[in-house]
């Protein structure tokens, strides 16, 4: 297709220190938009738990108290939503998936993260290990609010943000890749923002 010029469109260009950090098709936002497909779940912390299940030697489960007692990491990353906004330098605290998966014997190569409300999303195990993913409970030094996925959400900053499942309650380890909620509704299975993998076929 030849280039279609939008007559009179100038656009709002960012300085290179910002534009170099924006994947293709993304724009900078400074607030923190909320997106979700349904009502915000508000689970009781007294019954909340985080589990690792599926193709593992023995399943693992933490209560909220046990989960909060795990060693945490505080880190600052850029996040990219498939709806086009990116937010730079967001600071989170949570438990590395390396910590949660430590010592677990599995034959699975994939995870399916599952959440309150029925949401799921899938990722290859190698994309969420070696310091690439966390289950976070703190944003900017404050407890994560329900509309942003609290009490705890997955955080996988190198993928579009729908992969960072809100209200996450556990990981199922699987041998086969099992496309999740948005991945079965037309969104890309891998969701790499730097390759602009928004939708099927991208």
């Amino acid at each position: 297709m030849g280039e279609i010029i939008s007559r009179g469109f100038r656009g709002r260009r960012q300085q290179p220190d910002v534009s170099d950090r924006l994947p293709p098709g993304q724009y900078l936002t400074t607030d923190f938009p909320v997106l979700s497909a349904g009502p915000t779940p508000r689970p009781s912390l007294s019954t909340w738990s985080f589990s690792i299940v599926g193709e593992v030697e023995s399943a693992r489960r933490w209560t909220w108290e046990e989960f909060k007692a795990l060693p945490t990491e505080t880190f600052t990353v850029d996040i990219h939503c498939v709806t086009k906004w990116s937010k730079l330098d967001t600071t989170w605290e949570g438990v590395s998936l390396d910590t949660l998966l430590d010592g677990i014997e599995t034959s699975g190569d994939y995870i399916s993260a599952f959440s309150d409300g029925g949401y799921t999303t899938n990722l290859p195990l190698e994309e969420v290990t070696d310091g690439k993913a966390w289950v976070v409970h703190t944003f900017d030094g404050e407890p994560l609010t329900p509309e942003h996925g609290g009490p705890a959400r997955l955080l996988v900053p190198h993928r579009y943000f729908w992969k960072s499942a809100k209200w996450v309650r556990g990981l199922e380890l699987t041998s086969d890749d099992q496309p999740g909620f948005w991945e079965t509704l037309g969104y890309h299975n891998d969701g790499d923002p730097w390759r602009e993998q928004r939708y099927w076929g991208d």
């Binding site: 297709m1 280039e3 279609i4 010029i5 939008s6 007559r7 009179g8 469109f9 100038r10 656009g11 709002r12 260009r13 098709g25 724009y27 900078l28 936002t29 607030d31 938009p33 909320v34 997106l35 979700s36 497909a37 349904g38 009502p39 915000t40 779940p41 709806t83 086009k84 906004w85 409300g117 029925g118 509309e147 909620f181 079965t184 509704l185 037309g186 928004r198 939708y199 099927w200 076929g201 991208d202």
Partner: protein, 250 residues
């Protein structure tokens, strides 16, 4: 969770602006002719891409406001945001005859078609009416006999988008349209005069009938409040579907 996606690759298409409708002081509808448009389900959106002369590009998503019955003509309703890189262009500079690149349809959950049945409960805030308008227009065009109710919150009477068409779409027993105005009402205003709350939702919708689907679209504060209230009123979480229309970056 029901829903089906459109199969295959979403290619960029060149649409032509065939009409521009001034809806309110801050909102315009763009009527687009899209050769080869594959059709869509009400509630879906498109990605729009603008390209400057030096190749700089910007993309945004906009809900489709028209029903699938319009064929290769789709309508986007764009609210002009003061700081909006793309919306100021779409709702300002764009003229009839201009080309516009888009791809879609996108989104497989916040959708309703006549085949889904109902009752259909719609809650809109401001320009969040756009995808719900696609559902109401489809409801009318398809001759659906499922009851549909729209509760629409606007700031003032002049901010109501599609006002006269909504009046025409309303019928005594089939399609009900209820307005609330949050920042001032004309003399003799017959609708509500406050933000949407639990009492209003229960009065307008009644209880949670089995099989009913609620679609809520608007700013985050409205969507969060309404969705939570509907659950508190007894709706199952999977009866309530949400979409956000915020003045973010747009």
């Amino acid at each position: 969770m029901a829903g089906t996606a459109v199969l295959g690759r979403l290619i960029w298409r060149v649409a032509t602006v065939s009409g521009v409708i001034v809806e309110t002081a801050g909102t315009k509808s763009l009527v687009l002719s899209v050769p080869g448009w594959p059709g869509h389900r009400p509630g879906q959106h498109v990605d729009v891409r603008l390209t400057a002369e030096d190749g700089y590009q910007a993309q945004r998503s906009y809900s489709i406001a028209s029903p699938p019955e319009d064929g290769e003509r789709i309508t986007l309703t764009v609210e002009r945001l003061d700081d909006g890189e793309v919306s100021t262009y779409l709702a300002g500079d764009l003229r009839v005859g201009d080309p516009l690149e888009l791809r879609g349809p996108i989104g497989g959950y916040f959708t309703w078609t006549v085949a889904d049945g109902a009752p259909l409960l719609l809650v809109a805030g401001g320009s969040g009416i756009a995808p719900l308008m696609a559902m109401l227009r489809h409801h009318a065009a398809s001759g659906s006999d499922a009851p549909a109710v729209l509760l629409y919150s606007s700031r003032t009477v002049d901010d109501i988008i599609y006002r006269s068409e909504l009046d025409e779409l309303a019928t005594p027993d089939l399609r009900t349209v209820v307005h609330t105005l949050t920042r001032g009402q004309p003399t003799g205003w017959p609708g509500y005069r406050r933000r949407i709350d639990s009492a209003m939702l229960s009065q307008v919708f009644g209880g949670p009938s089995p099989g009913a689907l609620a679609y809520v679209c608007g700013p985050t504060s409205l969507v969060e409040g309404v969705a939570t209230t509907l659950v508190n009123l007894g709706f199952a979480a999977d009866q309530v579907r949400t979409e956000r229309f915020g003045p973010t970056g747009g």
